[in-house]
């Protein structure tokens, strides 16, 4: 077997339809942490997920999960269309503070007229326009995180000064959609910048991915297709002056391990040939249906082919499928030496192999000195 060049990264969604109490989410988060996964995700939308259905604020849920876990990254979906960039920056920074450096956020936009009516301030807008705005939000949010230098707090009794105000900065952001003065209320979070994720399944998101994302989930049903998309995203990121390794590309896969140890594709509902374990599903990630061992084979194959940096899995029945994924698939990958068996680092950036970013305002201040 060829030795893969990069570290394998694994993340799991812990969504639960109709789950409104904390223990459900804590249990799944701890399970994922037992599997030493890089991070868990929780989806969100500005409005209800569907008619007659509800969901809790995802960032709130993961803040509740934070003290009940120790190492795993926490990545809620956060929407940018009807929310205030300043508040958003504060909330994600705070998730990073309460988790001691384990926060990320997945950028999402709100495209529907129904969601626009919940706020009543602007009509629904084209998706491309909303993603352009989301890019501006990601930009200003990162600036607000940098608006406090790490050593701004001095507590100098002799001069009576708590902070060195030369190390706090106005961001004075003026975009096409909004302006923000700054500085932030929340000091620079432990990771400097919490991790930015984007579901890059629609090319309309790619400019935002290329500029701002640390992690992108892509939709592909073969390693060849995945590799092509990753190359394209990395090429675009390079064009913005970013390093190729700065973007972690994960294949998004829905996982149904209900058939136990059976061979992949043996379920009548799958419709796919046995050698084609991923079924393309419109609107969502491809579906894997089969056993945990075969899923480990699939992950090993894609990883060995160096097609992606890892996988973001969405368990179809979270309690059951995540348990089988961790105790079956992950255990096997660990046994083969393809996946970590403990967390060597403390922060989500550590898990992803991302360095703590320099503060742009500190660099500017040093430059003019």
């Amino acid at each position: 077997m060829a030795v893969p060049t990069g570290t394998l990264h694994l993340a799991a969604a812990i969504d639960g339809d109709g789950q409104y109490q904390a223990p459900y989410y804590v249990e799944l988060a701890r399970l994922a942490e037992d599997g030493v996964l890089d991070f868990i995700t929780l989806d969100d939308s500005f409005g209800p997920p569907g008619p007659g259905r509800g969901r809790l604020d995802a960032l709130a849920v993961l803040a509740r999960v934070a003290p009940a876990t120790g190492r795993i990254g926490l990545v809620p979906t956060v929407t940018t269309t009807h929310t205030e960039p300043f508040h958003l920056s504060s909330s994600v920074a705070t998730l990073d503070w309460v988790s001691r450096g384990r926060a990320g956020w997945r950028i999402e936009v709100s495209t529907t007229e129904a969601e626009a009516r919940l706020v009543g301030r602007r009509p629904a807008a084209p998706t491309g326009e909303l993603w352009a705005e989301a890019g501006e939000v990601a930009d200003v949010v990162a600036r607000l995180w940098d608006s406090w230098e790490d050593d701004a707090e001095i507590r100098d009794t002799a001069t009576g000064r708590f902070i060195d105000r030369d190390k706090l900065h106005y961001v004075d952001f003026e975009g096409a959609h909004f302006t923000v003065r700054g500085p932030a209320i929340v000091p620079r979070p432990p990771q400097g910048h919490p991790v930015v994720a984007v579901a890059a399944t629609d090319p309309v998101t790619w400019p935002t991915v290329a500029r701002h994302a640390d992690v992108a989930y892509i939709r592909a049903t073969s390693p060849g297709e995945a590799g092509r998309i990753r190359d394209e995203l990395r090429r675009r990121a390079l064009a913005y002056g970013r390093e190729p390794g700065a973007l972690t590309v994960l294949a998004a896969v829905s996982v149904d391990l209900a058939d136990g140890e059976g061979a992949p594709g043996n379920s009548p509902a799958t419709g796919g040939a046995p050698q084609d374990p991923l079924t393309d599903t419109p609107g969502g990630p491809p579906l894997y249906r089969g056993g945990p061992v075969e899923l480990a084979e699939l992950i090993t194959g894609w990883h060995t082919a160096d097609a992606v940096d890892g996988f973001h899995i969405t368990p179809v029945a979270p309690r059951h499928d995540l348990e089988r994924f961790v105790n079956g698939t992950v255990a096997l990958l660990q046994h083969r030496g393809l996946f970590r068996t403990f967390y060597p680092g403390a922060t989500l950036r550590d898990h992803l192999g991302l360095s703590r970013p320099a503060n742009r305002y500190a660099l500017e201040r040093e430059a003019v000195r």
């Binding site: 409104y20 409005g47 209800p48 007659g52 509740r64 504060s90 920074a93 406090w148 009576g160 923000v180």
Partner: protein, 445 residues
């Protein structure tokens, strides 16, 4: 058989970003006091919030309270640098605290001017679910364009519009919280008013408390009326007995107009306290805290906030300036103003002349915020008397140290309040409404 004495409600305020919060090491250190002084902890690390919240829960407090800031304060065009500054976002911290506490109420201050009802109603309903019915919202408003510069909606409201927006905001949030049936079916909502015209389906089922507890912190006539019409708790500044009694009577009288009973609105002044083994030790410690709160630099800056001009050339240990304040000055930004500068200056001059006080001594004397100073026995007696005399239903305690500022109170005063029969010895229910004796909306009283 005597009737049960009036029960006290208690809340813990996380130390704020103003000079009430001491961050310097004491300059004078009376032996025992210093050795018992809790370490000066971080204002931002989660461990500080966890410490204070766990302390409050150990003391069986009703709730834990977080203030809010949306723009860093400025002085003379620059960011104010003398006080503790920087804090996490409140609702997110409270969701995390729900993991390390079981019964304690969790109150966040959130501005109704720079938020929208749907989003905020969703966030508070989520907190109420995740904490098992312990959420509270302190509704505040803002009218300054200075803060608005951080928000896409920008701008600001006339003073008069602040409460109409807040009232409509809260009424709208309650329409959303009521939109799901108790058995878990969402019903469409539609709201059309001066400030909000929205409709659709609310995305969160009815939460354990029905509506999170609502706190109101305004002191003006409109603020009192708003509280009387719709709040569950009013957070006041009236920490002195006579002023407290007048305020209490005024606010409770207003309730009848809205068909509400006096016990449906709890009046809780924000208070500070200083404990000592003897009255003299408590007084000495209180004076030391005041000196820490008002450094020489803070004394000059406090004066500048009133005078509205640069006074950096003045000696903090010298006399007050003989020039008059500039009432139209914009020197201080992002700070709540109290009173007319000319009148305050005249009062301070009179105080300084009468007692022969320097600038710093005058500021220490005139801006005192220490409500209860004494032995644990004396403080417990005074608090009980305050409530028995209809000056308050309880207190929001504002410690001057992060995060250990209530350790002594919980260890030494709470047991005495319990002995007096004026404070609970166990939580009787799981929700904040249970602690406060407030019924769930939609249920009979």
């Amino acid at each position: 058989m005597t009737s049960r004495p009036r029960q006290i409600h208690l809340a813990a305020h996380f130390p704020g970003v103003n000079n009430t919060t001491v961050w310097t090491v004491p300059t004078t250190t009376p032996g025992r006091g210093a050795s018992r002084a809790p370490a000066l902890g971080s204002q931002i690390d989660f461990s500080s919030f966890e410490h204070l919240a766990r302390t409050a829960e150990r003391g069986l407090f009703d709730f834990f309270f977080l203030a809010e800031g949306l723009r860093l304060r400025e002085h003379n065009g620059r960011i104010h640098d003398l006080d503790v500054v920087g804090r996490p976002e409140s609702i997110t911290v409270l969701n995390a605290l729900a993991a390390v506490t079981e019964r304690l109420g969790l109150a966040a201050t959130v501005n109704a001017t720079f938020n929208e009802p749907y989003e905020l109603a969703r966030r508070f309903a989520s907190l109420d679910h995740l904490s098992g019915g312990r959420a509270a919202w302190n509704v505040v408003t803002s009218s300054d364009a200075f803060t608005g510069e951080n928000f896409r909606r920008g701008g600001f409201l006339d003073r008069a519009d602040r409460y109409t927006r807040a009232a409509e905001f809260l009424a709208t949030a309650r329409e959303l919280w009521d939109s799901w049936t108790p058995d878990g079916t969402p019903r469409p909502f539609a709201h059309s008013g001066d400030h909000f015209t929205i409709g659709g389906e609310f995305g969160v089922p009815r939460s354990p408390q029905g509506h999170p507890v609502v706190i109101q912190a305004g002191d003006s006539d409109e603020g009192r009326e708003f509280a009387a019409s719709t709040a569950d708790i009013i957070f006041t500044r009236h920490g002195a007995l006579e002023a407290g009694r007048a305020f209490y009577a005024d606010v409770k009288r207003r309730l009848a107009r809205y068909g509400r009973a006096p016990e449906e609105l709890k009046i809780m002044p924000g208070v500070t306290l200083v404990l000592g083994d003897t009255p003299a030790e408590a007084r000495e410690r209180a004076a030391e805290i005041r000196r820490q709160q008002v450094s020489p630099q803070t004394a000059i800056l406090t004066l500048e906030q009133i005078w509205g001009v640069d006074l950096s050339g003045y000696d903090p240990d010298g006399p007050l300036p003989d020039i008059d304040p500039d009432p139209g000055s914009q020197l201080a930004q992002g700070r709540v103003r109290h009173g007319d500068p000319l009148a305050v200056a005249a009062k301070w001059r009179a105080l300084s002349e009468e007692k022969g006080l320097s600038i710093r001594q005058t500021v220490i004397e005139a801006t005192g915020r220490q409500s209860f100073v004494g032995t644990p026995e004396a403080v417990a007696a005074e608090m009980a008397e305050f409530v028995a005399a209809d000056a308050a239903d309880g207190f929001i305690l504002v410690p001057h140290l992060t995060p250990g500022g209530l350790d002594d109170f919980v260890d030494r005063v709470v047991p005495l309040l319990q002995e007096r029969g004026v404070f609970r010895t166990a939580y009787t229910g799981p929700t904040l409404r249970d602690h406060l004796g407030l019924r769930r909306p939609g249920e009979g009283s």
